[in-house]
């Protein structure tokens, strides 16, 4: 990087902070802090949802898979695209129909009572803190490798900027900054691919310079090796807190549906582009750390000036995942823990203060995680394990079918979580089967057994009583 790159990088950060701070004008209540007042149109739902899932794992981590193994990973990670599109068709519109919902905890409490709300909130907060840590690590890594900033300082710098605007403007700042981050990354990164492809001599030249199996999708995967990660991407990130929040921010049901479907389709295009960059990088920047292949391509093929802008945008897209999870964690804390159990009559002003304070706390926790989780993709998969086997299916079932017994939710969460934890941490994934699978099976057995045992009960204990009935 030369002087003009540094100027462009600083310019990018200044514009980003300006957009984040400017958004504070729209912040008047907790509705604004958590769900941008239900005012976000479909095109912006598409951009903000995409900017949220395009983080370190889905840029550098995915390019690394292309660099080290070719196109095959596309057919695993493509499960995420299928999932997001299906959520857009079937689930996101249903979530948006809950007019007063800010979080998944709101929906779980509405159907399964306060204990289900609390459990959902706690799991969501842990999940969010974990992801904030993973992406903090990634931005520290990029700033270290490109700008020479020591890792710990890079983590603190990037997390500091995010915490600043996420705490000040809440969801409004998150959405507005996501627009900038999405636009820059989805224009600049494809340019890197086209320039790299041209340099390597087009597809014909590329094929001559890469191992033959790089373009054969299933050359290295047995069924068992394929199905575990495929299910991980299919279910692991389904409706994680900030993605579900994108359904709530939408102006209406149609906007939620259109935004999610567009994002699901686009995600496949994005995955292809970054994996292809990894493949093209194989002959052009040989013998580098696979995680650094994408950054090396940016440095090699973009003109000076644009390099600084794009490196900043890569850091910021990583940060845009971080701001989404920060805001989501804070919103879950407020809605699922603080307000129902500590201060039900909290004022709007008090609510925003609590949201801001918890955003800052989450940022600090994230930095601690950043120093303790070793690998980007593996870190994501590790945290997936906690979410899918507990919350997803009970949520999807009640979103589509309102007749489940109120007792189902808590038992499904507890059994799903216990079996997953035992499978992974006590039995160490026997037969190579991911903990997600037995966890989901246990979750569903508990759900349906409890449903059939309790569906006719008239008296409902207070902790299980649906909030819809009060």
């Amino acid at each position: 990087m030369i002087g003009i790159d540094w100027v462009m990088m600083i310019l990018y950060f200044v514009i980003l902070i300006f957009m984040g701070i400017a958004a504070v004008r729209s912040l008047k209540s907790m509705d604004d802090f958590a769900i941008a007042g239900h005012k976000v149109p479909a095109s912006v739902v598409f951009a903000t949802l995409s900017a949220s899932f395009i983080g370190a794992g889905y840029t550098m981590g995915t390019a690394a898979k292309g660099y080290s193994g070719g196109i095959g990973f596309l057919f695993i990670i493509g499960a995420f695209s299928i999932q997001t599109t299906l959520v857009g068709i079937f689930i996101a519109p249903k979530l948006r129909e809950y007019e007063n919902a800010y979080t998944i905890g709101d929906i779980m409490g509405y159907h399964f009572g306060p204990l289900a709300r609390l459990l959902t909130g706690i799991i969501a907060i842990i999940f969010c803190a974990g992801i904030v840590g993973v992406v903090a690590r990634a931005s520290g890594f990029v700033l270290q490798s490109v700008a020479g900033i020591p890792f710990v300082y890079g983590v603190i710098l990037s997390a500091g900027i995010v915490v600043l605007y996420a705490a000040v403007g809440g969801m409004w700042s998150v959405v507005q900054t996501d627009i900038l981050q999405f636009v820059v990354i989805v224009i600049a990164v494809p340019l890197v691919l086209l320039l790299g492809l041209s340099d390597v001599g087009g597809v014909g030249g590329l094929v001559e310079k890469i191992p033959g199996e790089f373009l054969r999708p299933f050359h290295k995967f047995s069924f068992v090796a394929f199905i575990g990660p495929f299910l991980g991407f299919l279910l692991g990130e389904t409706l994680v807190p900030p993605y579900a929040q994108r359904a709530f921010v939408s102006t209406d049901v149609k906007g939620a549906r259109a935004g999610f479907i567009a994002s699901g389709i686009y995600s496949f295009i994005w995955f292809f582009i970054v994996i292809a960059i990894g493949i093209v990088a194989y002959p052009l920047v040989p013998n580098v750390d696979p995680d650094a292949a994408m950054v090396e391509m940016v440095l090699k093929f973009l003109p000076h000036g644009m390099i600084g802008f794009v490196i900043a945008s890569i850091v910021c897209v990583i940060m845009s995942t971080q701001d989404s999870f920060l805001n989501s964690g804070a919103t879950h804390f407020f809605r699922d823990v603080y307000k129902p159990f500590f201060h039900p009559a909290v004022s709007d002003r008090g609510a925003i203060m609590v949201g801001r304070l918890f955003t800052i706390i989450m940022g600090v926790l994230g930095i601690v995680f950043a120093i303790s989780i070793p690998s980007l993709i593996d870190g994501l998969l590790y945290i997936y394990a906690l979410w899918a086997p507990t919350i997803i299916l009970p949520l999807v079932i009640v979103a589509l079918w309102k007749k489940a017994s109120p007792y189902c939710g808590v038992y499904a969460i507890v059994f799903g979580g216990l079996v997953t934890a035992l499978w992974i941490w006590v039995f160490k994934n026997p037969w190579g089967i991911d903990g997600l699978i037995p966890g989901i099976i246990a979750n569903q057995i508990a759900f349906w057994v409890v449903h059939y045992l309790t569906k006719d009960w008239k008296e409902i204990s207070r902790v299980f009583a649906p909030e819809s009935s009060s």
Partner: protein
């Protein structure tokens, strides 16, 4: 298939970016700057 996608997908992505420039920054102007 790879040959088709490796040229078409980047162009689709750039078009998506341009679309969001128009719609997204209009939204930003309307809500954050004009204060509607």
């Amino acid at each position: 298939m790879f040959t088709f996608a490796v040229y078409v997908f980047p162009i689709v992505s750039i078009i998506a970016g341009v679309y969001v420039i128009i719609r997204g920054f209009t939204f930003f102007y309307r809500t954050s700057l004009a204060g509607e």
